[in-house]
């Protein structure tokens, strides 16, 4: 504790958002990168296949599946994940892809909500996300929520009193106890984490980081979470979508 906290706390260089964007992929070990690169060995594809099955599975009283309205996902969902989060026209608020899928499920299929982090929810998100793999993130930044998200990102929180920016802007690339602090980009979600031994959403990842600094995490569907997700995507503009990524 005594040896490392000073490293994190004392030097308060404010670097600002990264100029040279590095995906978490670039900071992972060769073995972890190889796991992501091979679709036959990337465990995220277990969830992708689950999502593919869900896509054409009717649900709710109308007997509709995602495919009933959207047809072939490889066509209709191409490039969609690269544009999210966006400002929802109906509510004029940031809308994440996970929320959009959830909304189609409950409002348009009128089926029961898929529990967050369930295999079905992660599978659908992974299957939709995969249709944008390799495309650069290109989220519309022309709205006030981006600045709100950035403020949250740069606000100290929790018992460790650290902001996201202090780790992911100022100390990205630093190695502490063998762990590299990545720039903290959202371009691979949902992703398979070796630590989780499972697939997880960006929400779960952000919760981990907040619990890590001993802060009370923002609720999953809160405006704060959506604003953070939006700022992260704007900050990562140009990085390629990697869903389903693999990370330590």
């Amino acid at each position: 504790m005594k040896r490392l906290l000073p490293l994190l706390l004392l030097c308060s260089i404010a670097a600002g958002p990264p100029v040279d964007l590095r995906s978490g992929y670039d900071d992972a070990s060769a073995e972890t990168r190889a796991m992501q690169d091979d679709d036959g060995g990337n465990p995220g594809f277990l969830w992708v296949r689950e999502g593919e099955a869900q896509w054409s599975q009717p649900a709710g009283p109308l007997g509709k599946s995602c495919a009933s309205c959207h047809g072939d996902a490889t066509v209709s969902m191409r490039g969609v994940a690269a544009r999210y989060p966006l400002i929802d026209k109906a509510t004029n608020r940031p809308m994440t892809l996970d929320r959009r899928i959830g909304e189609c499920r409950t409002d348009r299929q009128q089926a029961e909500a898929l529990p967050p982090e369930s295999d079905a929810a992660l599978g659908l998100a992974a299957y939709v996300g995969l249709q944008s793999r390799g495309m650069p993130l290109n989220v519309d930044a022309d709205n006030p929520f981006v600045a709100a998200g950035r403020r949250l990102f740069e606000t100290r929180m929790g018992q460790l009193n650290l902001s996201c920016a202090q780790c992911h802007d100022d100390r990205a690339g630093m190695k502490l106890a063998g762990a590299v602090i990545p720039q903290g980009h959202p371009n691979g979600y949902p992703e398979y984490r070796l630590e989780w031994q499972a697939m997880g959403s960006l929400n779960r990842r952000l919760r981990n980081c907040m619990v890590g600094v001993r802060a009370e995490p923002f609720p999953p569907d809160s405006p704060e979470m959506a604003a953070l997700a939006l700022y992260l995507a704007v900050r990562a503009k140009g990085l390629k979508v990697e869903t389903p990524a693999v990370r330590p």
Partner: protein, 149 residues
């Protein structure tokens, strides 16, 4: 599927590592080199094991002990290998896998992913159809141990 496995003391370990330089990992009961030696003796009976022919590929520095890529291959023609056996000296249970090659097996090589509780030595034994045994071992450093506490 394994969406949200029940989590024990594993949550946020990396942050603890960052904050506390790794002093907070819980102690777990581990196997020992002696236990592995006993298992190997049971496997080979009165035979002896020679170094060589079998090759164990593992990263020397492990990023996360939950999932460690491993390749084992034997320098032998198709059909010459009877089985492969892997042991981890400091896991809670020393046995990792036993694999047997049938009449339709191809090249004697397998690839899988294993868990390593801590820094330790992993041993591979190949049993040939001619009754000889061969071994290789790798000593590796695990920065973040497998979540088996």
């Amino acid at each position: 599927m394994t969406g949200l496995p029940p989590r024990g003391a594993c949550v946020g370990r990396r942050f603890l590592l960052i904050a506390a330089a790794g002093t907070l990992l819980p102690a777990i009961a581990a196997a020992s080199p002696v236990q592995v030696a006993v298992l190997i003796r049971r496997l080979i009976g009165d035979a002896t094991v020679s170094e060589g022919r079998v090759k164990l590929d593992l990263p020397v520095l492990v990023e996360n002990g939950n999932t460690v890529a491993m390749t084992v291959s034997v320098d032998a023609p198709i059909g010459a290998v009877h089985s492969l056996h892997i042991f981890a000296e400091a896991n809670p249970l020393p046995e990792v896998l036993h694999a047997t090659f049938g009449p339709r097996a191809g090249v004697p090589r397998i690839q899988t992913r294993i868990r390593l509780a801590t820094s330790q030595t992993v041993v591979a034994i190949a049993r040939m159809r001619d009754g000889t045994f061969w071994q290789d071992s790798v000593e590796l450093l695990v920065t973040l141990a497998a979540c088996i506490d």
